[in-house]
Symmetry: C2
Subunit: 368 residues, 2 copies
């Protein structure tokens, strides 16, 4: 089961309010999805994820295929059961990771031959294989197997890659014909508006229950990304969810939503947490710095999360400096709460017709 | 405020049931105390510690004195506030760690001169200084500054050390005269029964609200430790709690209680957890081993803890192999629950007059 209901469109921007329904529950959009690469959102338990209102998480097909293996996860009863998460899961196709192995892979029409980054073992992933792996994982939302070209890339390269990605999308759809998992098509085209347009047109022809925008936030300037969004989202059907892959920061969330995006994911909140960095309503701070040594105020005075209600910057700084696991737990928990709460505040502002005002006020406080 | 009430003495062993009352709440004895060396029980939050019924935790004076510094913790409002733990805390004296720095320290009558194991900086800890640090930390139960001789050690060395430890105990008591923290005297004497006896006699003369037994579990054979306990605990006053420092395993808990001990602490449950080892009712297993790869049963089928109710061996093994923080979190949580639950079961068995039977049945299942 998969359904998207568009509840509201903002009058002063492309922002939208919606609800996605899946077999594992519903998701309010716009939404931020915490990333659980290895079948775990780093340092978090499922019940903590629920406590901070995570409605859906993402897992990585490439990593889980290699270890512990998708067959093992199938034997465990699927990814939900394996990792003790009974809400929706979205899986990527593995494509992004495979194409990142630049020297270790060879792209052919039939699929991609590559060597594992772990042990050099030989593997082959085709559109069909990616679907089979994702079937074994049993995620609610499945990504088509695409190529994500690097930035910068010549137009000719991007165009050829895009045409193959379109052919692969058809094969993915065929492979998932009888599945009750929802397959999203992926829009590529680099920073070339005409290619983005062609990608949308062809993906719409194949017809997917949702569309992902890939190939952004891969090194291009922010302005370029926003320009592409501004160009691309209006071409997409309004009655399908739109997912901006691998994005991003708090400001990216606001700008993406402004341009009509419904779903986001990024490792950034959890990754910077492990380096002792946290979001606050005034911007990012590096709490491991010496200046926070005897600062006994919360990470963010305006935050209602369990960490900010119970722990101080000075204590968290001490933990991070001592490489104590609890330090990373507390920064991770807070950063994810920050992103999920931001998404919730944005939804509320769209509901109440003051999203533009919310966006303006956010930037007044938040130093990028 | 500090009070110990002896509720019951077992008829068939030296086991006792009691209750300790402190300003931060009461503690049912016999009790196991999780260790929070750096003002954090590794990988655990305060609310998880409460969830598994931790009634008191231990923190290490030496580590906190060096970093972040006891003055900073005092400024934060004391250790309870700093680490967000509102139940009782016991601190050691720093002696054990200082004396472990064999090449970096010099023992004098006035105290110990030593170099930090971190940066080589010079320090001096005297009985008075140890008390002052522990006052800054604000723990509920404070340990006297003692020397813990290594094993093996010549009788003459142990005797001289013991006499100095007695003189130091008097100085500690004097320094704590006006404090509302409870100071425990420490029984030393190595594996020499007469020295243990002399230690008890002198410490009783000084008169403390509780007595710790130190210098055991430092490398001597288990039989030697149990022999010393059998010899020492009957010499101690029955109306004061007895704390066996740095001990131990599940079987040590049972044997210690059998010999009349009320309090235990050990890093072992949390340390082995970080190496992928867990306690089960059938003995210890190394869940990171390949044989558990596709074992989708809980760590311990007989365990009611959150981890065993929600996660499988196969999943935890996957996490540990991938160095995922969640793996260590789950094994740590389970191991501490195991120890605290064991203490609870033992208390219950003493209450119901079947401790000897409980002990017998435990060893029938549990492989050491």
């Amino acid at each position: 089961m998969f359904d998207f209901e568009l509840l509201k469109e903002d009058k002063k921007s492309e922002a939208r309010l919606g609800i996605i329904k899946t077999n594992h529950g519903s998701i309010d959009t716009p939404i931020f999805m915490p990333v659980g690469t290895q079948a775990t959102v780093k340092a978090m338990t499922s019940r903590e994820l629920k406590e901070i209102n995570s409605q859906i998480i993402l897992a990585n097909t490439y990593h889980l295929y290699l270890r512990p293996g998708d067959e093992l996860i199938k034997d465990a009863g699927g990814l939900h059961k394996f990792m003790n998460w009974d809400k929706p899961i979205l899986t990527d196709s593995g494509g992004f990771q495979v194409f990142s192995l630049s020297d270790l892979r060879e792209i052919k029409e039939e699929g991609v031959y590559f060597s594992s980054h772990l042990d050099g073992s030989k593997h082959f992933i085709s559109p069909e294989k990616s679907m089979q792996i994702q079937k074994n994982l049993g995620s609610d939302i499945v990504m088509a197997f695409d190529e994500c070209p690097p930035y910068p890339a010549e137009r000719e390269y991007v165009e050829n890659s895009l045409e193959r990605t379109i052919r692969w999308a058809e094969r993915c759809k065929k492979e998932m014909e009888k599945s009750n998992q929802a397959l999203f098509g992926i829009i590529q085209g680099g920073v070339y508006p005409e290619l983005r347009k062609r990608s949308v047109e062809e993906m719409k022809k194949i017809d997917f229950p949702g569309y992902s925008i890939g190939g952004l936030s891969v090194g291009e300037p922010k302005e370029e990304m926003y320009k592409m969004l501004k160009h691309t989202t209006p071409l997409l059907p309004t009655n399908k969810p739109r997912y901006l892959m691998g994005v991003g920061t708090p400001e990216d969330l606001i700008e993406g939503i402004y341009h009509g995006i419904d779903m986001f994911d990024c490792v950034m909140p959890t990754r910077i947490a492990r380096h002792g960095q946290v979001f606050t309503s005034k911007g990012r701070i590096t709490v491991r710095n010496a200046k926070y040594k005897d600062d006994f105020t919360p990470l963010d005075k305006n935050c209602d999360c369990h960490v900010c209600q119970n722990y101080s910057r000075g204590y968290i700084r001490h933990l991070i400096k001592r490489n104590e696991i609890l330090g990373v737990r507390l920064t991770t928990y807070h950063n994810l709460y920050f992103m999920l709460n931001l998404a919730e505040e944005i939804r509320s502002s769209i509901r109440d017709d003051h999203f533009i005002n919310f966006r303006y006020k956010f930037y007044q406080k938040y130093e990028i």
